[in-house]
Structures are given as structure tokens and as C-alpha cells.
Symmetry: C2
Subunit: 204 residues, 2 copies
């Protein structure tokens, strides 16, 4: 895009020019995602908060999901990462989920920004990351893909083990988890995730 | 004790009087536990940092474990909480561990200060709480009590699920975990903890 395109839809005397407009949309998206939650925040509301036309939000960022990935500065796109988990049988889903999860976290370029988000797990950005990133975009598609019963309950259980693994292995670096080989981490946690994903759930 | 007792062992011109001395010992304990770790910090080092005689540390706080509980202002004593887990058979240890853990966290008076510690899980106090409180004082006695193989590995796995449960249920308050009945939480997680505590571990 060119500056003149951005300039056409900027309003309220804001100077035409892409960088400021883009940054303003990001700032509004972060503020509204954090205060209202991802699900309750529309692109229209973000546009209004940023004083721009909604079409400009789509023009810069694509979909609302795209905007979320940009707003949290995620080093990987959760929708891409989760694909190998969805393609395959349910029986191996727990193991595949662990493998893609560890492949991201064991990659230092991805780990450092993710650690920043998890460390602020009680800040709005960290909460967004877990609620809408992990629970929404990463784990969200698993339920429908495998027609699971009680997907919300199952994904909360899965997330509880994945977050705890992140805390011990990457944040607190507790041994022997911190330096455990990937295959051993997978072998250790896959049965747990598989039970949460597909096993019988206790009756309430 | 009386002020005169404290006064006898205070040195370097510090005014005799319990409150300042006690606070100084606590401050030194917190600083050294955080910078060196609980295991590498001696009562003697804390006393030196606080410019008091080591006997005064014991006089005010008892053992080093007691001082840790006081330094972190824990609402419950981990050594007392863990007792019912140690008394009984190994087969039910996972369930008993969950029950005592939830009984503490579901009690609002205990939960609020614990939340403060967990929220700062990347601050020294929060890290101390997980490493030396949860892994050390709460889970530490389980391995010897049941003569478990690889206690360090098993307790890291147990802690990874317990911390994740705390994050989802109490910190992020993700449903349906946040409002789930205690019995259902126990039925859900007991098999996981039991496997980590006593099940076969994958070979490395």
C-alpha cells in the first residue's frame, strides 16, 4: 500500500501517513482486546477507538485474528502451528500437540518473545496470550476438528498442563525438566494430554 | 522473650528492641533466599547480613524452614499441610495431594496471599515460593516418605500440573475450571498426579 491510500481514510485531522495510523490501530487493538477480551472486541470498535475507517484495519492487518497475532507480536502464527495437530487421527493428537508446542518453545527466536508474554501472565497482554492465543487460536480448533464432547472443559485441562510445563521448563527452568530431551518430554506428557483431549471425563 | 534478651545479642550499636531486629533478619533472609536460593543460604549468612548473632535468628524464628515460611509470609505451613499426604498408602497419594492443595487454595484467606506470590512467579519471591516452597517443602518430603525412584523428576512433573492448575483455575479463572466443584477437580487431576508420583516413567 502507499501513504496516499492510508491518507484517504484517515480522519479528524490526523496527518496522512502509514506508520502512525498502523501504530494507532495496534494500540487500540491491544487496549480493547485487553479490556474487553478478544471475543467481545469488534474490528469496528477498534477502528472507532483509533479514529480510522474499519476498512483501513482490514487493509493493514487482514482479519481480526491477524490483528491479534500482530497486536501480541507473536513470533509464530498459532493458526499455522496447530495445523499438523488437526491433520491426523485423534489417537495421536496429544503427542502431535506436544511436538508442535515444544518445537516452538525450544526455538530460541520464538521462545524469548513468548516468555515475555507468559512472564506477564497477570498483565492484560499475558492473559490475552493464554486466553485468546493458547485457548482460542491454538486449542480452539481442536474440538471442532475431532468433534469432541465438552471442548471447553477439555481444552482448559489441556491448557493447564501446557502452561504448567512452560512454567517449570522455560520460566523457572526446574531440572530435570529444563534440560530434558524433547522426545522424553513428549513421552512423559502425551498420555496426560491425550486423556484430557479424548479420554473419559469424570461426571460432575 | 523480652527486649533485654534481644538487646544482649544485638551488635554494632543497633538499639536493643525486638521489632527492628526481627524485621532486619526477615529482610536479610528474603534478600539472601532470593539471590542465593534457599538451599545455599545458611542461618549464619543471614545473621551476618543482618548484623546479629546466629542464635538470635533461631531465637526469633526457630529453624531455617520456619524462617522461610515467615519470610514469604505463607498463610499456611507447608510442612503441616503435607502431613495427610504422607500418612497413607502410595496408591491414594495423588488424590490426597490434590485435596490438601485445593483445601488451601479454595480458602480465600489463604488464596489471596498465595496469589500474590504466584502472580510474581518471575520475581524472586514468587520463584522462591515455587522452587523452595512447593518443590522443596510441600513436595520434597513425598519422595523419601514413599521411597520413590527419581523423586526430583517426579516432583517436577507433579509441580508442572499443580502450577498449571493454579494458573487456569485461580489466576486466569478460566471456565469451567474456575468454578468446578472440588470433587470434580480431584477426579480429573488425581490420575495425572498419581501417574507422575508412582507410575512408570518413560526411559530417557
Amino acid at each position: 500500500m502507499t501513504n496516499s491510500e492510508a491518507g484517504r481514510t484517515s480522519i479528524r485531522g490526523r496527518r496522512p501517513g502509514a506508520p502512525d495510523t498502523r501504530a494507532q490501530i495496534l494500540a487500540s487493538a491491544r487496549a480493547l482486546f485487553a479490556s474487553r477480551g478478544f471475543g467481545s472486541t469488534s474490528v469496528r470498535a477498534i477502528a472507532a477507538d483509533a479514529h480510522v475507517d474499519p476498512s483501513l484495519v482490514h487493509h493493514y492487518f487482514g482479519s481480526k485474528d491477524d490483528l491479534f497475532v500482530a497486536a501480541l507480536e507473536l513470533p509464530v502464527d498459532p493458526r499455522v502451528v496447530i495445523q499438523p495437530v488437526l491433520e491426523g487421527d485423534l489417537e495421536g493428537a496429544g503427542e502431535r500437540l506436544l511436538r508442535v508446542f515444544l518445537s516452538v518453545w525450544d526455538d530460541e527466536k520464538a521462545r524469548l518473545p513468548l516468555l515475555g508474554l507468559v512472564r506477564g501472565v497477570v498483565d492484560p497482554k499475558g492473559q490475552q496470550f493464554v486466553r485468546d492465543g493458547l485457548l482460542g487460536m491454538v486449542l480452539g480448533p481442536i474440538g471442532p476438528a475431532f468433534h469432541l464432547d465438552e471442548p471447553q472443559r477439555r481444552m482448559a485441562l489441556v491448557a493447564s498442563q501446557m502452561i504448567g510445563l512452560v512454567m517449570l521448563r522455560y520460566v523457572l527452568e526446574v531440572e530435570p525438566l529444563a534440560s530434558m530431551e524433547t522426545d522424553l518430554v513428549v513421552a512423559t506428557y502425551a498420555p496426560t494430554l491425550q486423556r484430557y483431549l479424548a479420554g473419559p471425563l469424570p461426571a460432575s
